[in-house]
Symmetry: C2
Subunit: 193 residues, 2 copies
């Protein structure tokens, strides 16, 4: 029987949260986990949080509702990933307290690099004052003080960061170890001989 858990990605816009969540999800699928659910803006915006904006109050309410859903999923055996900027420590601490097997992943990337990347042109707009309340520019991001994992998305490849997260899940006994390829198994048998 699968044990539920939540891999919670927090970090600035464009730091790689959803990219990593999708990569982890693909690996969990490959390892045969039957029930995997991704929660991110794309998944919840139309249904769960369509009435919310970007004030502190609305951001907290957003995370509060997502936490409720992640709590139910993780307690019912589902491998859950959550990708939300989730800038406030208190809201993340509440998610940790409520979810089953909560793993906080801080997707770190220096702000200068994010401003260079800027895939959606949002940092440029925020810096020009065209949009306001943008986390990291004119809205606070409270860095995790003690995350379970930090990935440095400016230095690591997606595959490398994914591997760090999977190894952590393995060590926690939440997912089975990766099956070695037939070749690797053969090589190791030969060594044993």
């Amino acid at each position: 029987m699968q044990e539920g858990f939540v891999v919670w990605f927090t970090g600035l816009s464009a730091s790689g949260k959803t990219t990593l969540a999708k990569s982890v999800e693909a690996e969990l699928l490959a390892r045969g986990l039957p029930y995997i659910q991704r929660l991110d803006g794309d998944v919840v915006r139309q249904d769960l949080t369509r009435d919310l904006g970007f004030s502190k109050e609305d951001r907290d309410e957003n995370i509060h509702r997502v936490t409720f859903v992640a709590e139910l999923l993780s307690k019912n055996g589902v491998a859950t990933t959550c990708s939300f900027i989730s800038p406030y420590r208190k809201a993340r601490a509440n998610a940790r307290a409520r979810c089953h097997n909560f793993i906080e992943v801080y997707t770190y990337c220096p702000l200068e690099t994010l401003i260079e990347r800027d895939p959606k042109g949002l940092y440029a707009k925020a810096l020009a004052g065209e949009i306001t309340g943008f986390t990291g520019i004119d809205d606070p991001y409270e860095e995790p003080e003690n995350p379970d994992i930090i990935v440095h998305t400016d230095k690591e490849t997606v595959a490398e960061s994914t591997e760090v997260i999977l190894r952590h899940l393995e060590q926690q006994g939440l997912i089975p170890p990766a099956r070695r390829s037939a070749k690797a198994a053969q090589a190791s048998r030969r060594e044993a001989v």
Copy 2:
């Protein structure tokens, strides 16, 4: 591997929705289903829907959010029960369209009987005009046109109604058949001899 489903109880206040949901839940537990989640006002009011009132718009939004959660749970293998007055056909049809293995149970009880029962004194208050927007009194309830199951809670015991629902779940292949008691099995072996 467990197949997820949603047993959706709809009906007037005090018609027995949550009582039945809890009874079904206990039976599912007894049959060894690993993941069971009840959704009702008590479960969602503090987290998911705390901003909502009883206007048509708010009732629709309430059911919309609950539907989203029930969809995720049922698609991820969880045996889910939902107990909500859910007075509007369109909102229930949407829940049916989105959830995995959706079973609509209409908990029917004549209004006169509910007014007699009135465990929380709400019907008396609604009839006296002390509270407004009360379903069945001054707010509409759109009866299910084609529910999967109708239970008549004025005539059946909780055990009888529960049995009807469990039999339906068995017939749909969503739960294993009840294990017969050792005594019954022995008796049937004796007959066979």
